[in-house]
Symmetry: C2
Subunit: 132 residues, 2 copies
DNA sequence: ACACTTCTTTAGAATAATTATAAACTACAT
DNA sequence: ATGTAGTTTATAATTATTCTAAAGAAGTGT
C-alpha cells in the first residue's frame, strides 16, 4: 500500500480505516472538496463494511494537523475541507453549494498593504461567490 | 427615533427590540463585527430588560435579508456578521478571534480571469489570516 | 509467538449553534 | 375599538461537532 509509509512517516499508524480514507481522498486526479458527511458517504459506498463517523472526524482532523488537508473558509452549516493544501483560491457556487478551484494564474497577485502590530500573515484566501 | 422610518421603509415593524438592536448595531463610528452571542451580550448590557435569543437571531436574519448586515465567510464555530455591507476584505486574527476591516486601498485590485459557464460573480472577498 | 504499552476505533452521550413551534403580544389599518 | 398580520418569546427540536470510556489493533521488546 502506497499510503502505509506516508502515514507512518507522519507518526500515524496505518490502520485499515485510515488507508480506506486515504484512497477516497487522494486516489484521484483532481482536487477534492468535501464536507465530513460527504466524505462519510463516499467511504461507505467504496468499502464493504462500516466506519464510524467519529473515525472520519478523527482522521480528517489528524490529516489536517499533518498538513494533508486544509479547511476552506466558507459560511456554510458544514465545514469544507480540501485535498489541495497549496495556497489557492475558490469559486463557491451558491446555488449548487459547490466549490471550484482557482489556480494562481486565474487570479492576479494580491497585495496586502496594511500591517498589524506584532502579527504576521499566515494566509491570503480569496472566495468568489457565484450566482446564476 | 431615527430608525423607525428606516425599518418601516423596509417593511419591518419598528418594535422596541428592533430599535434597541439598531442602536447597538448602527450607533457607532466604526464597522461592527460580531457573532450572535456577542450581540446578545451587548444588548443585555445596554438595555434594562430582557431580550430573547430567538429575537436576536430573527432580527439579524431579517436585517441581513434587507441588506443591512452581511455574513463574513470564516470557519469559526460561530457565524460572524458585519455592519459594513460594502464589498471589502478582512484580517482575521486567529489568536484573538477578531476581525479587522481592510479597505480597498489596503488591498490591490483583484482580477478574476476564470469564467464559469452560466454563472456570474456575486462577490469577491479576501480573508487574510493573522498569526503571532 | 507472547506480553505489554500505546494508539485507534467505536457507539453513544454531551455540547453548542441554530432553527422550529406555537402561544401571547403588539403594531397598524379600518 | 376591532381585527389581522407581523413579532416576540420560552422552549423544544435539530444538527454539526466533540467527548468519553471501553474494546480492539499496531508497534516494540523479549
Amino acid at each position: 500500500m502506497k499510503y502505509v509509509e506516508k502515514l507512518r512517516k507522519s507518526g500515524l499508524r496505518p490502520t485499515k480505516q485510515r488507508l480506506q480514507i486515504c484512497e477516497v481522498l487522494f486516489d484521484r486526479e483532481e482536487t477534492f472538496h468535501f464536507t465530513i458527511n460527504q466524505l462519510e458517504q463516499k467511504i461507505k459506498n467504496q468499502i464493504n463494511g462500516k466506519i464510524s463517523l467519529a473515525t472520519v472526524y478523527n482522521t480528517v482532523h489528524a490529516f489536517e494537523k499533518k498538513g494533508y488537508l486544509k479547511q476552506i473558509p466558507i459560511n456554510s452549516n458544514q465545514t469544507y475541507f480540501d485535498t489541495n493544501v497549496t495556497d489557492h483560491h475558490h469559486f463557491y457556487d451558491l446555488k449548487d453549494e459547490k466549490l471550484i478551484d482557482l489556480d494562481d494564474s486565474d487570479v492576479g497577485p494580491i497585495k496586502i498593504l496594511k500591517k498589524v502590530n506584532g502579527k504576521k500573515i499566515k494566509s491570503v484566501e480569496v472566495l468568489v461567490k457565484l450566482e446564476d
